[in-house]
């Protein structure tokens, strides 16, 4: 039944409970049906890429924490990989494993949050988020043990990681790994076959593989559309080539697929973590960057200023949100000449209009939730 009505413009955001930050979505509605959607970004723009050109390579690491603040480890990692490519630095084995472990822990933390928020956008009032926070807290505790921070970690260093993990870290990590499968089973029980979640997300916000590739989306968005693509497998970095895991893909390209992929990736991350913890070698965790720039002290801290050779490098990793790439151009000076972030949130957000048109307001919120954006990363 359709009663024609006037087009009706609704602003979702920049202040709205469901925009995950200060993001604005201008919906043109016919009744409750969306006939046009405009994304308006830039409310959180902090000019990070420009700021980074004024600071040294080491000073830029904390900036990478603050783009995707829900997955700071991966931001660090992508950036240091780019700089290491630029400078041709070999990273010690133990550091590679530590990076992998931290990145996977971060993925669990970030996916937990994404799943919880997605369920919240489906209308489950705060409960899933709060339950997911339970695991996330434990992981943040581990991070705190390793580097002293919980959210903006600044753990990775060019040539390794900032410090080795303390002795108590391993037992606690093992304890957490024992605990997590039970939790994941609980989430799968509660969410996977939840009637209302299925009703709300299946067949909503469909993105075909052609569209997904054309929009160059990545991460769970791309895999949700059925394309088996994961940089951890396609272009392995850190210690991923030594680990065994599978890629979770969807078949329908809808919101439900993106959500089940995140759930499945929790399991895969756990599997990888188990392997990585067992295989963890001993040794240094940091590669010193040439004798002239080494600072004295027991902690292997990267030098504050160094000058990479002239050139350019693109370091990419699979962040929880997709392909996170740092493109760095060096002119031989102490700070990058050009610093660009290929942020997955921003690019995954672009097909929102395509997905939202034709659905309802409530669907738009679910679609936005399934994209799992971090506005800090969208606007940088």
């Amino acid at each position: 039944m359709t009663i024609k009505s006037e087009p009706f413009v609704v602003n979702v955001g920049p202040q709205h409970p469901s925009t995950h930050g200060v993001f604005r979505l201008r919906l043109t509605l016919d009744g409750e049906k969306i006939i046009d959607a405009d994304m308006i970004m830039g409310y959180l723009h902090r000019s990070m890429e420009k700021l980074a050109e004024e600071r040294t390579y080491t000073q830029n690491i904390p900036f990478t924490d603050r783009t995707d603040y829900l997955a700071a480890m991966t931001g660090n990692l992508a950036y240091v990989i780019a700089v290491e490519k630029l400078m041709n630095i070999e990273v010690p084995e133990r550091a590679q494993f530590l990076r992998t472990i931290m990145a996977e822990l971060q993925r669990i933390a970030s996916h937990s949050m994404a799943i919880g928020i997605f369920a919240n956008d489906c209308g489950a009032w705060q409960t899933p988020v709060m339950h997911m926070f339970r695991d996330r807290e434990k992981i943040l505790d581990l991070f705190e043990m390793a580097c002293g921070a919980r959210l903006t970690l600044n753990y990775m260093r060019i040539g390794g990681v900032s410090r080795d993990i303390p002795d108590e870290w391993m037992p606690q990590a093992h304890k957490l790994l024992k605990e997590l499968p039970k939790r994941f089973a609980e989430y799968e029980d509660l969410l996977l076959s939840n009637e209302i979640i299925i009703a709300r997300s299946r067949g909503v916000g469909v993105l075909t593989p052609e569209q997904a590739i054309a929009y160059s989306v990545s991460g769970p968005m791309l895999r949700g559309s059925g394309v088996a693509w994961d940089i951890r497998k396609a272009d392995p970095y850190a210690a991923y080539d030594k680990l065994d895991f599978e890629i979770a893909v969807g078949t329908n390209g809808d919101c439900y697929d993106r959500f089940v992929i995140r759930l499945a990736e929790l399991r895969q991350s756990l599997y990888m973590l188990e392997q990585a913890l067992d295989m963890m070698p001993s040794g240094p965790v940091h590669q010193r960057l040439g004798t002239s720039t080494v600072q004295p002290g027991t902690q292997p801290i990267a030098p504050l200023a160094f000058r990479p050779p002239v050139g350019e490098a693109y370091g990419r990793i699979e962040s929880p949100r997709g392909e996170l790439g740092y493109y760095i151009v060096s002119d031989g000076g102490p700070s990058p000449f050009r610093f660009h972030i290929r942020s997955p949130s921003f690019i995954n957000l672009t097909p929102l209009k395509l997905m939202a048109i034709g659905s309802t307001v409530a669907d738009a919120i679910v679609i936005l939730g399934s994209v799992d954006i971090v506005v800090g990363e969208v606007d940088r």
């Binding site: 939840n194 299925i198 067949g203 979770a248 893909v249």
Partner: protein, 415 residues
């Protein structure tokens, strides 16, 4: 209206009766003690409501916090007990903002109108043997009629705010309330058919006399009524008209301070009203198989009422929200046919019982068993007919693969 005298010490009327006698002795006209008596009873209900709401603000927050793995209010007073009072003071002291383009009169009127039906409902609800303010013969119909006032009230709130979220929410609310009013009516119709009276007190005494609760005999209408009640009081999964994640705060987006407080309180009162209805009609009201001889009836009644209300707190803490078209489809495609069939079956059962003249010990269990079986068959069968558990309504896990670059897309089913 005759004043029913009761010898029980705990009857609220007996607070009023001595006063009435005193006034009679002083030779005052009839009207004075009539008014005074009504005032005392009405005031008692109002005080109970306010106290309950204040208590339940704390209880709900603590319970939901328990479900959500956190602590809830625990700073103001012992165990956060004074939190609702602090909240109330905050709401009272806040500036009552009226937005520039709002329809000023209606904007102020809406919180008050929303209050009316939620309080008036309790006039016909029996709290105890003689504790009913107005022993209406058409009590059940009255409940439905009064709940209908909610609809314009919510619309006025949404419309007068002159806010797009609020307007969308108001339109949703109207569509929802009208659809589910129908379900409510049909659910209560089944009960009325069975009891043969629309007087709430008659419901209680019937259930007392036959030593059973209607919930055992009419399971489907109870479920339907509880669901429709959730729609009426905007509880999840039907809290579409104040869907926090979609429409900010729905029809009361623009309301702040004590005006918001009114909506907040009215929501709880409406919840109590639904719970009171369920308790009275389906759970035996103030009776509990003879226990009412020893314990004041109103304590039993309130205990049941709060237990029913807990269902709503529970659902709020656990369930996601439906979309408006799904909610409407659920009402019109799923519930309405079921309730119609159910009403028909119950009518037949009543006639058969009358015709055969079976004794109650045979008839009631038989009818209960038939209805329960029928409810299960109807719900599952009708869900199957509507395609439940197939196609888009089926859940699955992600496919796992090691092959890079392969496309697993099988073609989307679009809702």
């Amino acid at each position: 209206m005759a004043i029913i005298l009761s010898g029980e010490w705990y009857d609220l009327r007996d607070l009023a009766n001595p006063i009435r006698e005193l006034i009679d002795a002083l030779g005052a006209p009839d009207a004075v003690d009539y008014v005074l008596w009504s005032l005392i009873a009405a005031l008692a209900i109002l005080i109970w409501l306010v106290v309950s709401v204040i208590a339940f603000i704390w209880i709900e927050r603590r319970l939901v916090a328990l479900m959500q793995n956190r602590k809830g209010p625990n700073r103001v007073g012992p165990a956060g007990l004074l939190q609702p009072i602090a909240d109330a003071i905050k709401l009272l002291l806040k500036e009552a903002i009226t937005t520039r383009d709002a329809d000023r009169i209606l904007f102020w009127l809406a919180p008050i109108i929303v209050f009316i039906p939620t309080i008036v409902v309790f006039a016909v609800v029996p709290f105890g043997e003689s504790m009913v303010l107005a022993d209406l013969n058409v009590g059940v119909l009255f409940l439905i009629a009064v709940a209908g006032i909610m609809t314009p009230a919510v619309f006025i709130a949404g419309w007068s705010s002159n806010n797009k979220y609020a307007l969308l929410a108001a339109m949703r609310a109207i569509a929802m309330l009208i659809s589910y009013e129908l379900i409510q009516v049909l659910a209560l119709l089944a009960a009325v058919l069975f009891i043969g009276s629309m007087n709430l007190q008659a419901f209680v005494s019937w259930q007392d006399e036959y030593n059973t609760w209607l919930i055992f005999i009419l399971p489907l209408p109870v479920v339907a009524y509880v669901i429709a009640g959730a729609v009426e009081i905007n509880r999840s999964p039907m809290d579409l008209s104040e869907a926090e994640s979609e429409l900010a705060a729905g029809y009361h987006t623009e309301y702040g301070g004590i005006k918001f407080g009114f909506f907040y309180q009215a929501e709880y009162m409406a919840g109590f009203a639904i719970a009171a209805t369920v308790t009275t009609l389906f759970l035996g009201g103030w009776t509990l198989w003879g226990l009412e001889e020893w314990i004041p009836g109103w304590i039993i009644f309130l205990g049941k009422l709060y237990a029913v209300f807990f269902l709503y707190i529970w659902s709020r803490g656990t369930l996601p929200r439906l979309r408006i078209d799904q909610l409407m489809a659920f009402a019109w495609k799923f519930m309405l046919p079921l309730m119609l069939v159910n009403a028909l079956v119950i009518a037949v059962e009543v006639v058969v019982w009358e015709e055969t003249g079976a004794s109650r010990n045979v008839a009631l269990p038989a009818i209960g068993a038939v209805n329960a079986t029928l409810a299960v068959i109807l719900v599952i069968g009708w869900a199957r007919v509507l395609g439940h558990g197939s196609g888009l309504q089926r859940g699955y896990r992600a496919t796992l693969t090691r092959e890079i670059g392969k496309i697993y897309y099988t073609g989307a089913e679009v809702s």
